[in-house]
């Protein structure tokens, strides 16, 4: 995959904007980034379509796997309440969050370690804009959003099935939908913070290919209902991934709000909702701190 580097023109744009106004308009800058990425994607249109098709293909394969699984069982976990339609709502939530992370943050995090290795970070530091913003939003991988579309289709089908089933039909209320959206965003925030932390470590480690694998393996835990891990030797994992690296909350909290697997809700559930809010705020602050620590120990690699 080859494309022209439009970063130069973007830089100029930021500079001219900042000459007029010492505080850059972050939204405008972001829209410029997004536009440039879209132009780049549209230059290689066939490639773009193929990328969309292949990521949707991956989604379909996962759907196929879970459909097969539900041929054999009614729920995932005894008395957990995660039946087929509710679990597919869970999956849709996973896809919403993952596609956003992959579209907006993944390409940038990948580039960040490359910037450090090559010394290109110098140029980012010179720009009159917040460095973390510049590093995190420079590129948008539009093709990853195709999975967002796939998520919407899955969510609509499962909501339809839930509303029309014979015993205990379920239609989520407006406040549930609102809470769901808020916690999907907070989930994305947690994922983003985790990614910033991981990529910031490349300042110290130089190159961190293994860390990116680490990212995939950690987020792998977030893809299933969290109570699944709450037994035997899974308990330490459950604790770590809920309270220290809160990836288990990312999908679980919003998905539970919308799918309501256990009805009526337990107080434990509300505890996790509150905790997810605290965790999201905490992880943003923590990741920003780590990022600044990393920047202050950055020594240019070029020349």
């Amino acid at each position: 995959m080859e494309y022209n580097d439009t970063a130069g023109t973007v830089g100029e744009e930021i500079q001219t904007m900042s000459l007029k106004d010492p505080h850059p308009n972050y939204l405008k800058v972001f829209l410029t980034f997004a536009k440039n990425s879209l132009i780049r994607d549209m230059t290689f249109r066939t490639n773009f379509v193929l990328q969309c098709v292949s990521s949707v293909g991956w989604t379909l394969m996962n759907v196929g796997f879970y459909l097969i699984l539900f041929q054999y069982t009614d729920t995932i976990g005894a008395e957990s309440g995660w039946d087929r339609d509710k679990f597919f709502l869970f999956l849709a939530t996973t896809w919403f969050i993952n596609s956003i992370v992959q579209a907006f943050f993944m390409p940038n995090a990948e580039e960040f370690s490359e910037l450090i290795r090559t010394g290109g970070l110098d140029f980012a530091l010179l720009k009159p804009i917040d460095t973390q913003f510049l590093i995190s939003f420079r590129k948008v991988d539009w093709s990853s959003l195709s999975n967002f579309g796939a998520g919407i289709v899955i969510a609509i089908i499962s909501l339809h099935n839930l509303a029309h089933r014979e015993n205990t039909p379920m239609i989520p209320g407006w406040h549930e939908i609102a809470l769901y959206l808020i916690f999907v965003i907070l989930g994305i925030v947690i994922m983003y913070s985790l990614m910033i932390c991981l990529s910031a470590t490349s300042v110290w480690l130089g190159r961190n290919q293994t860390l990116y694998n680490f990212w995939f393996y950690i987020t792998n835990f977030s893809r299933y209902p969290m109570e699944m891990y709450d037994r035997g030797w899974g308990r330490p994992l459950y604790g770590i991934f809920t309270f220290i690296i809160p990836v288990l909350l990312v999908v679980n909290v919003p998905a539970r709000i919308l799918a309501r697997p256990i009805d009526p809700r337990t107080t434990g559930e509300w505890f996790f909702v509150a905790w997810a809010f605290v965790a999201a705020c905490g992880s943003v602050i923590f990741s920003r701190w780590i990022f600044h620590r990393a920047l202050s120990s950055y020594r240019s690699a070029s020349s």
Binding site: Y72, T73, F221, Y224, P225
Partner: protein, 285 residues
């Protein structure tokens, strides 16, 4: 008057040289390798919990008295995932097809047209050396994980015949993986860009090789067709042999069938290469 043995000697010594170079090249990154191998088992942890939850739900409902899915119990499914990791360690060929396509695209393939070295043979030796280096380093992490998970292998060590068949299927799995991917790489002679095609192949292979779940879980009508495909030899088949899911009396027949597929892919790869070379016009300096 002995031109034949000396030529053979020359060939062997050059093959040995290629093998040694590739082996040394590979051992440079051993630290990263060992860690990477151990990390690759992490997704299995989630799989263990997922399947436990599934079997837990089935047992609590109580109408599936055998407690098996597609002929697999919970322990066997975990053992299955571990064994497919072993199968994939043999049959996966990272970068092979894309490497061939890249060599075609960038004109590097000319080297093999001028020099008295066969491209496919060279790549195969390289791959064997890489795999060999991989096993030397990965043996530790693999042994550790299998030891920690030994209680999932409920029926203990299989019989010697089964072990022999298992080894044979792993070796053939390696060769099928190699010639299958090399054949896909040869498509590069006709289409310069094969990366998206490769991705589609990878998707299907992940699903239909049994890497994602045991193929016997598929609905019968689909399973019937999927077991005719050669992709199952990349992951499902060796694991199924080890766990005794292939009946003893069919074992020989199944292995013979696999050998036929192997011959097919060797022929396909050779034909594609010779046809491709005829078509080839050297781009690039």
């Amino acid at each position: 008057m002995s031109p034949v043995p000396s030529q053979l000697q020359w060939k062997i010594s050059s093959w040995m040289m290629i093998f040694r170079t590739a082996l040394e090249e590979r051992l440079v990154y051993r630290g990263d390798f060992a860690l990477g191998t151990l990390m690759r088992f992490l997704p299995i942890v989630t799989q263990i919990f997922l399947w436990f939850a599934v079997f837990d739900a089935i047992e609590s409902k109580g109408d599936n008295t055998e407690g098996t899915i597609g002929g697999f119990s919970f322990e066997e499914i975990v053992a299955y995932y571990l064994l497919t990791m072993l199968g994939r360690a043999f049959s996966s060929m990272p970068g092979l097809a894309s490497g061939i396509a890249k060599q075609i695209r960038e004109g590097e393939i000319k080297r093999y047209l001028i020099q008295p070295i066969d491209l496919i043979g060279f790549l195969l030796l390289n791959r064997i050396a890489h795999k060999f280096a991989y096993y030397v380093i990965a043996a530790g992490p693999f042994a550790l994980v299998f030891f920690l998970c030994r209680h999932y292998f409920v029926s203990g060590w299989p019989s010697l015949t089964t072990l022999f068949a298992f080894t044979l299927s792993l070796v053939m799995g390696f060769l099928i993986g190699f010639f299958l991917e090399a054949s896909i790489g040869m498509i590069g002679f006709w289409f310069l860009e094969v990366s998206s095609l490769l991705f589609v192949y990878m998707l299907f292979s992940f699903f239909l090789s049994g890497h994602m779940f045991p193929l016997s879980l598929l609905p019968d009508s689909i399973e019937y067709f999927v077991t005719f495909l050669p992709l199952k030899y990349l992951a499902y088949f060796p694991a199924a042999i080890f766990l005794g899911k292939i009946p003893q009396d069919e074992l020989l027949f199944e292995l013979a069938l696999e050998a036929c597929w192997l011959v097919f892919f060797i022929a396909l790869c050779r034909i594609a290469y010779s046809r491709g070379v005829q078509r080839y016009s050297g781009y690039g300096g």
